[in-house]
């Protein structure tokens, strides 16, 4: 379980996140939503130890501050919003980097084949020999996800749950791949791991998240199950936009929801 109490983060003297309580349980997908600039990524960076924060973050009961980088790396993997590379790596070489510090959790001999398996999971079969820099943005994002999956391939290792932190994992993906990626996240949780994801699409969030944390101006505006959180009043207040939950468009305007996926 990831438990964060009273998290505040200031960057350059400006407070970005104030007094946020957060908890992500193994077996669940926890989504962080909120408008641009509400502090979602900053909160995620505090939870992963990338930014200095006040308050406490516990990872499976241990204080994050007291853990070594390599210990943390065996318990959780982090997918950043985007990754620019400085050297011409092949896709396979990038995915293999996921095996550097963490422990995949597969049998020792299977590590060598893990990059191919991870690439197949993110629908990039046959991409191993391509150069990362030659791929499209959406493909690059999926390569990075494959790398992250290699790091914590088994959702539970030696009886302890492990976690995926995903910062906008589907932001540059087409709808088919949005569903593929979200299914990977849900599957990871179903098998005992925990997932923390920043999402923008409220429909996808409602469909996949077990628990939603809504950030507004650096503070926690609401937290709970999608049913309890996604209400007209909250959406208007947080997103500054008058929307009706569950309202169908008038007349013959077509609309396509991820929930309709067969």
């Amino acid at each position: 379980m990831i438990e964060a109490r009273d998290i505040s983060v200031a960057v350059g003297g400006k407070r970005i996140v104030s007094h946020v309580d957060f908890a992500a349980r193994p077996g669940e997908v926890s989504a962080i939503v909120g408008p641009n600039g509400s502090g979602k990524t900053t909160l995620l960076k505090a939870l992963t130890g990338e930014l200095a924060y006040t308050g406490t973050v516990r990872l499976n009961g241990r204080d994050l501050v007291s853990m070594k980088p390599v210990e943390v790396a065996t318990l959780r993997a982090v997918l950043p919003q985007s990754t620019a590379l400085s050297f011409p790596f092949t896709v396979r070489e990038i995915v293999r980097l996921g095996l550097i510090g963490g422990r995949s959790g597969v049998l020792p001999g299977e590590d060598a084949r893990l990059p191919e398996r991870a690439l197949a999971r993110v629908d990039l079969d046959g991409f191993a020999g391509r150069f990362y820099q030659e791929l499209s943005g959406g493909e690059q994002q999926r390569v990075q996800l494959a790398r992250v999956l290699c790091q914590v391939w088994a959702p539970v290792l030696e009886g302890r749950p492990r976690y995926l932190f995903l910062d906008e994992p589907v932001s540059s993906l087409d709808v088919k791949h949005q569903l593929i990626i979200m299914n990977i996240a849900r599957d990871f949780a179903r098998r005992g791991g925990g997932v923390v994801a920043i999402l923008h699409d409220l429909n996808l969030t409602a469909m996949y998240a077990d628990r939603i944390f809504v950030l507004h101006r650096g503070e926690l505006a609401a937290a709970g199950a999608p049913m309890d959180v996604l209400k007209d009043e909250l959406i208007e207040r947080v997103f500054d936009c008058r929307l009706k939950v569950g309202a169908l468009p008038e007349g013959s305007v077509p609309f396509v929801l991820p929930q309709s996926a067969a």
Partner: protein, 366 residues
């Protein structure tokens, strides 16, 4: 050059599964052969017709040669002049190429080289100070250390500048690589200005010494110099193989490397101290030898990819080979006089580098 065709041949066969480790091992094997050949060539070639083969054969078989005087002369040339020079060339070639590769990994930029973090400028300042002030203000230093005064001053000059930069760029236990780069430019400029003042004060003989030192040369290699800088370079470089995995992770950015379990701050510190020690020692005995640190890792990245587990050893081998070949050219092309090796590496390295860039335009993402 043999290395060119290796690079070209290897980049043509792009493994379909994206795994270049077998190719990397093959290239490293070829580079071992290339280094052995270069060592043999350097021991044999020179202004004198002394035959290394003859000397070594005599030594192995225990033959007493017919012309004892000639044999003694050959032995002197091979043992006391060429051998230390070859060893020094290997040490410096390895240091320059490996440090170039490590700096490029650390700064995540294929154009980075040890000169960027001020090592070269600091070393120059130290060396020039000894050349110009060695008989006046710094006379006690030259008296105390003799011929070692110049390499020592260069070494500590480089180390001092690097540590100063490191202190400037480190806040709350985190070193900002970008700050270090920018501060490096400022401090290098300052060191060069101080060097300029010293050059302004220098007399004609000192100016000639200075110019030659700055152009770089392996001339004057002795067993004593090998014994002085060898341990420093070897010690500094033994840390480097342990950095290769961390440097690979660093290609994804500092934050991601940390998420992968790499102790990033310790990695940066080890790399910077190791590089400044190895490069400081190299510059101290050989002056400014350019291009090895940029061209060698770059060519190898095209051939075997950027994986530092293979890139670092391959750079060491190719750097040593190229420096020995360049030194052989420098020694023989205007024999019995000698060209400064820095001129050879620049004349050969610069056009070659441009040609590589033009051929590979698009893949190199600067």
């Amino acid at each position: 050059m043999a290395e060119q065709s290796i690079a070209r041949g290897a980049s043509r066969v792009m493994a379909a599964d994206g795994d270049r480790s077998n190719r990397a091992r093959f290239v490293i094997l070829l580079l071992c052969l290339a280094l052995a050949l270069s060592v043999f060539l350097s021991l044999t070639a020179g202004a004198s017709d002394a035959s290394a083969v003859r000397v070594i054969r005599n030594w192995f078989t225990g033959t007493v040669p017919a012309d004892a005087a000639l044999a003694a002369r050959d032995q002197l040339i091979v043992y006391d002049i060429r051998m230390p020079r070859v060893l020094l060339g290997v040490l410096i070639g390895v240091a320059l190429a490996v440090c170039g590769a490590v700096m490029q990994g650390l700064f995540r930029n294929p154009l980075a080289d040890p000169g960027l973090i001020g090592v070269s400028a600091g070393s120059s300042l130290g060396a020039v100070a000894i050349i110009v002030l060695g008989t006046t203000w710094l006379a006690p230093v030259t008296l105390a250390f003799g011929v070692l005064a110049l390499p020592l001053a260069a070494f500590f000059g480089g180390l001092a500048v690097t540590l100063l930069l490191y202190a400037i760029a480190t806040r709350q236990g985190r070193t900002s690589v970008a700050t270090m780069l920018l501060a490096g430019i400022a401090i290098s400029a300052l060191a060069m200005a101080l060097t300029g003042i010293l050059i302004f004060m220098a007399d004609d003989r000192q100016l000639r010494d200075l110019t030659f030192w700055q152009l770089g040369s392996l001339a004057g290699a002795t067993w004593q110099k090998v014994g002085t800088v060898g341990p420093v370079i070897v010690l500094a470089l033994t840390a480097m193989p342990f950095l290769s995995r961390g440097l690979n992770a660093l290609a994804l950015g500092e934050a991601t490397a940390g998420h992968l379990g790499i102790p990033v701050q310790r990695l940066k510190y080890t790399a910077i101290v190791g590089v400044s020690a190895a490069v400081g020692a190299s510059v101290a005995v050989s002056g400014g030898i350019g291009f090895i640190g940029i061209v060698v890792p770059h060519v190898l990245r095209l051939a075997i990819g950027p994986d530092n587990r293979y890139l670092l050893p391959a750079s060491a081998l190719l750097g040593a080979s190229l420096l020995l070949i360049a030194d052989s050219v420098a020694r023989t092309i205007v024999a019995p006089a000698e060209l400064p090796i820095g001129i050879v590496t620049a004349v050969a390295g610069a056009p070659f580098f441009l040609w590589i860039l033009l051929r590979k335009r698009g893949i190199v993402d600067l």
